[in-house]
């Protein structure tokens, strides 16, 4: 479980979002929604430990994230980023093996146990047949699954993903989100991701975080619909939101 206590996030002097008090439960897939520039990436970067909080705390299973060493943090939070990684000759199994880095010895050699964990992670995301392929030969969807497997191999209670469904085709978007939902439920991890695929997010996720006008509203799709927050976030002069079907329609 992660709890954000009086957390203010931002860069240098400039606060992007202030005084956040929220919790992320284990075993749930939570989607972070918001317009570009609303502060989604800032929250994710702070939760990953890349960016120090301006004030307040992030507690991971009761421990202050910012007081953890780099090595301890690598066993608490794993990430999947948007930046494209190009490494010649790197196989899927090698990439997933990188997830074991926090646990390996001085030269990073994988033990038998590590290799078993890597194999298991690759099976969990359903790309066992691709293990020996190099990552530059994968489709975007397969690549995203390989990085998700890397995060699983890192064996952290929390996985953060920055727009994992961007650049994917429609089918890959749905299957990636479904996979993450399944993994969150099966492994009891917190999977927290930002996305612009709002329609899929409201239909699939366990909980939504909506960043709007400097505030964060959280809750299930049902509770946010009831309170009208979802409608206020989604609806504008060009788009209408169907509360029953959880779909968007262009006016």
């Amino acid at each position: 479980m992660i709890s954000l206590q009086n957390l203010t996030v931002g860069y240098g002097e400039k606060a992007v979002l202030s005084d956040i008090n929220q919790t992320l439960q284990a075993g749930q897939m939570v989607c972070l929604l918001g317009a570009n520039g609303a502060g989604k990436s800032t929250i994710l970067r702070t939760l990953a430990g890349f960016l120090p909080p301006l004030s307040g705390k992030v507690l991971v299973d009761g421990r202050d994230l910012n007081s953890l060493s780099v090595s301890e943090r690598s066993k608490a939070v794993s990430v999947v980023l948007t930046e494209r990684v190009e490494v010649p000759y790197m196989k899927v199994a090698d990439l997933v093996g990188m997830g074991r880095s926090p646990y390996t010895g001085f030269f990073g050699t994988l033990t038998k146990e590590d290799k078993a964990i890597v194999g298991e992670a690759i099976e969990m995301v359903g790309i066992g047949n691709l293990a020996e392929r190099t990552i530059d030969t994968l489709s975007d969807g397969e690549r995203q699954k390989a990085f998700l497997a890397k995060a699983l191999a890192q064996q952290t209670p929390i996985i953060l993903l920055d727009e994992p469904t961007a650049f994917l085709d429609f089918h890959a978007k749905v299957s990636t989100l479904r996979l993450m939902l399944k993994l969150a439920h099966e492994t009891d991890k917190t999977i927290f991701l930002s996305t612009h695929d709002v329609e899929m997010a409201i239909q699939l996720s366990d909980e939504l975080w909506i960043v709007q006008d400097g505030n964060i509203s959280t809750g299930t799709t049902a509770s946010l619909t009831e309170s009208g927050i979802l409608e206020r976030f989604l609806q504008d002069e060009g788009i209408s939101f169907d509360e029953k079907e959880l779909t968007l329609r262009i006016r």
């Binding site: 890349f50 780099v70 690598s74 066993k75 939070v77 000759y89 790197m90 090698d94 990188m98 880095s101």
Partner: protein
């Protein structure tokens, strides 16, 4: 298993090339006599041969071996650190920083002494100056690499740095003595013979130190393949690793440049040859392979430099671009096709 086999093969090749470097030189000495000299005997009627073999060829072979190893390793570290397949000590201008340091010492301070007969103290000064120059450029590149998004921009910056240091060196030439200019020009041709038996221990110590430190970076370098953010999330202390990279690449470039002159393309080409040979990006196997291929390439270049059988030698800086440039072209073409 397969990688281990290849590494063994490369080691064997290195041993053979090392022996060849001692057996063949610009002066024809019968193989049997070289063997006699190595066994501690003197060849009758040719007392100079002992000096040529023991104080010339053996140190020169060791120098070539270590320089190739150091430059290849340096190129590998730079390519991973900047995530740029075309990074290398010469193209990024790091060795031109070392050049400038050497030029200041040779042209302004030690103008009357050629590098070959500088006293050990003077020579250390050259090394320190090269080190300061290399580290300064490396630090500048590290700062710029955070500001510059594009990999090409960083390479262009390196080329610009080389031009600027080149200009400063030209300007220094005006205020230097003729002899100073001469010794700097000779040094600039690159030569594995300039270390010699007296300075060999210092050269060995400095380059081995750099190589050992490089081996300590294997795990963080693997993580850096994925980029800074991923590496940090995998438990790597980026700041400290960057400082170590700065130190190691600076030390290796400065040592080789100060002792042997600027030697281009080995640093850039060798890591690619190693990747091609092993089909991996992992430093656990890639770094040893890079070291071995670097040593082999430098030893081969040294052999080639003695080809004119009249006692003269071809400068190393003439040979390495001929070997390195095709490799670099191959890398560029492969990139374009992706």
């Amino acid at each position: 298993m397969k990688d281990k086999y290849k590494l063994k093969l490369l080691t064997l090749l290195m041993v053979l090339l090392s022996i060849a470097n001692v057996l063949w030189g610009s002066l024809d000495i019968p193989v049997g006599d070289v063997w006699q000299i190595l066994c501690g005997n003197e060849v009758e009627g040719h007392p100079a041969w002992s000096i040529i073999v023991l104080q010339g060829r053996v140190p020169q072979m060791l120098t070539a071996l270590l320089t190739g190893t150091a430059l290849g390793t340096c190129g590998l570290l730079l390519q991973t650190a900047f995530r740029n397949p075309l990074a290398g000590p010469s193209i990024l201008g790091i060795d031109s920083g070392a050049n400038l340091g050497v030029a200041i010492v040779l042209l302004l301070l030690g103008g009357t002494a050629s590098i070959g007969n500088l006293a050990l103290g003077g020579h250390l000064l050259v090394v320190v100056a090269a080190m300061v120059g290399a580290l300064a450029i490396m630090a500048l590149l590290m700062i710029l690499s955070r500001l510059l998004r594009s990999q090409v921009m960083l390479l262009i910056t390196g080329v610009i740095i080389s031009y600027v240091t080149g200009s400063i060196i030209q300007l220094l030439n005006y205020s230097a003595t003729e002899q100073g200019v001469h010794s700097f020009v000779i040094w600039g041709m690159g030569n594995f013979a300039s270390v010699g038996i007296e300075r060999l221990p210092v050269f060995c110590a400095l380059s081995c130190l750099g190589l050992l430190l490089a081996l300590l970076l294997i795990k963080p370098l693997d993580a850096l393949l994925l980029g800074d953010r991923y590496a940090e999330n995998l438990g790597i202390r980026i700041g400290r690793v960057r400082q170590m990279l700065l130190l190691v690449t600076g030390l290796l470039t400065a040592t080789t440049t100060a002792f042997c002159g600027p030697i281009s393309f080995i640093g850039l080409a060798v890591p690619h040859l190693a990747r091609l040979a092993l089909g991996t990006s992992y430093h656990r196997t890639l770094m040893p392979a890079t070291m071995l291929i670097g040593a082999n390439l430098a030893l081969a270049c040294n052999l080639l430099s003695t080809l004119p059988r009249d006692g003269s030698i071809i400068p190393i800086s003439v040979i390495t671009p001929l070997i390195g440039a095709p490799v670099v072209l191959h890398v560029i073409l492969k990139q374009k096709n992706n």
